[in-house]
């Protein structure tokens, strides 16, 4: 009995979602009076820090051919057998959700995805997740002894709680992947939207792409990631990966600032799990105010630069 956490890396760097999964696994292991271990693919040079978030041991798999559901499934289950795991934690990232189901199927385990809080072990394993586009919370019970959980981003506040460990090579050799990754393109430097803690988002109220400078200035001052509403992406004002909502990316940042976005239900579906929502809109009747924590009624071309100034002032006083 132990907990195994899959850690996703990009060029050897561990993402925040990975540290969250690690710490979440650590807390579960503590609940169950057992130990927590980590497994990752590829370069493990920066993996010592996993110990600080609760890993008792860290295993790496010598493999760098890119993501393949089959290979990742086999590798993680090989690590699970090595450490005698009965719970596997995977962050709910694009790749995480692309193979968690295969892990559960091959392991014959129950699975719940996008879990948002620690499980309860009083009667089987019960977990909660947000459903119906954030309009309700469901509590599930897993009836199998083995379980796979994917953890929704920004669901847990990580804390250092241990000391570094030296990664060891897992005694398992991957076969040839069935899926060949030919090319990978990511925008450099930015925190990707699904992982961002702070998001500045703008909609049709901006009037045109040439006006986005003020949004970018605010995002830069806050070190936030930018997002947009669907019509803005559809008309090509902004790139598609910025589109949030029912048909775009669903996000759960600590802060979501909505500028010139009306707050249509399909937009809210992707953002209403944000911890704090600020809405800037010139129309006091805009539906978004009902979902907001803080609201400013005013012309965005006036309000946004003022907010940017206030943020800069605050940052320099820190």
């Amino acid at each position: 009995m132990s907990v195994l956490v899959f850690i996703e890396t990009t060029n050897g760097t561990i993402k925040k979602s990975g540290l969250e999964a690690m710490y979440f696994g650590n807390l579960i292991a503590a609940q169950k009076n057992t130990s927590c271990h980590a497994v990752l693919f590829g370069n493990a040079d920066k993996a010592n820090i996993l110990g600080k978030y609760g890993a008792k041991s860290v295993f790496y798999i010598d493999y760098s051919k890119g993501f393949d559901t089959g290979i990742y499934t086999e590798g993680v289950l090989s690590a699970a057998a090595t450490v005698g795991a009965d719970i596997i934690i995977i962050a709910h990232t694009f790749n995480g959700k692309s193979f968690a189901g295969s892990v559960a199927a091959r392991w014959n385990a129950g699975i719940v995805t996008s879990v948002n809080a620690l499980p309860n072990f009083d009667n089987g394993i019960t977990v909660t997740k947000s459903v119906f586009s954030g309009k309700a919370v469901a509590t599930y019970r897993i009836n199998t002894t083995k379980a796979v959980l994917t953890l929704a981003g920004n669901s847990i506040q990580i804390q250092e709680s241990g000391s570094e460990v030296t990664p060891q090579k897992l005694d398992w050799t991957p076969s040839e992947p069935k899926v060949k990754v030919l090319e990978r393109k990511t925008s450099e430097g930015l925190v990707p939207l699904p992982e961002a803690e702070l998001v500045v988002s703008a909609g049709r109220g901006m009037k045109g792409p040439e006006n986005w400078g003020i949004v970018e200035e605010l995002a830069k001052a806050l070190q936030a990631t930018t997002a947009c509403s669907r019509p803005v992406a559809d008309t090509g004002w902004r790139p598609h990966h910025e589109h949030v909502g029912q048909t775009g990316v669903a996000i759960k940042p600590n802060l979501y600032i909505a500028i010139g976005i009306s707050g249509a239900i399909q937009h809210l579906a992707g953002v209403n799990n944000s911890k704090t929502i600020v809405v800037i809109n010139k129309d006091p009747e805009a539906p978004f105010f009902k979902a907001a924590d803080y609201g400013v009624v005013g012309d965005l071309f006036e309000v946004v630069p003022k907010l940017t100034e206030a943020v800069k002032k605050f940052k320099s006083s820190q």
Binding site: S114, N143, R184, K275, K306, A310
Partner: protein, 246 residues
Amino acid sequence: MNILVCISKTPDTTSKISFKSENKEYNPDGISFIMNPYDEWYALVRAIELVEQNGGNVTTITVGDASNDMIIRKGLAIGANDAIRIDINPKEPFEAAFQIAEASKQKPYDLILLGKETIDYNGSILGSILAELLHLPFISFATKLELSGKTFTVTREIEGGEEICQVEGPCVISAAKGMAEQRIPNMKGIMTSKSKPLNVMAPVAYQNKVEVLTFTLPGEKKGVKMLSPDQMDELVALLHEEAKVI
């Protein structure tokens, strides 16, 4: 080529959500259901396009009771050739994947397409379970899907970017926005859909691994605090001290 497309129904996002049987069950009364957008707009349409270009057959498959027939007929009207419905309401995605896997073992498909997620439970999980149960390769979040010979070239979404990959069929691929353009069924499609075959199959025995205990509605927002455009310093202070997000 023979393509299987998994389609499911979901409540329209604008629906008010409520529960019954002591909050153990979703209450479908008065809800308008639609075909899950990723299944309809992208997976199904791309399957039809591939068959238009290469010949073959598009079959849709749905796990659920007769209340799904409405969206199944819509799939046939858009251009699927025939449909399978497995007559049980699945309690979890694993169960739906299991039933689809059992049914698709009877007739091998060159490609199985599904949506990247259902917009009600947002599990995003069925595809990778199905692929594993059928021992097929899986590619998720495909925004582009091209076929040459037996090789599929796929562009898929990843955090902050995309990845291009290749796989040999048969395989399972989940569709995201961009894979195709929505098609509205025309009159002819709607007329012929009525005579296309919809095969209802009995489910195979399955032991549930996961069950819903309760649903709860989230607490009301505490209400919005309004500030004037001249109070931006105050807003920043509130975000720091009260909300503790910056």
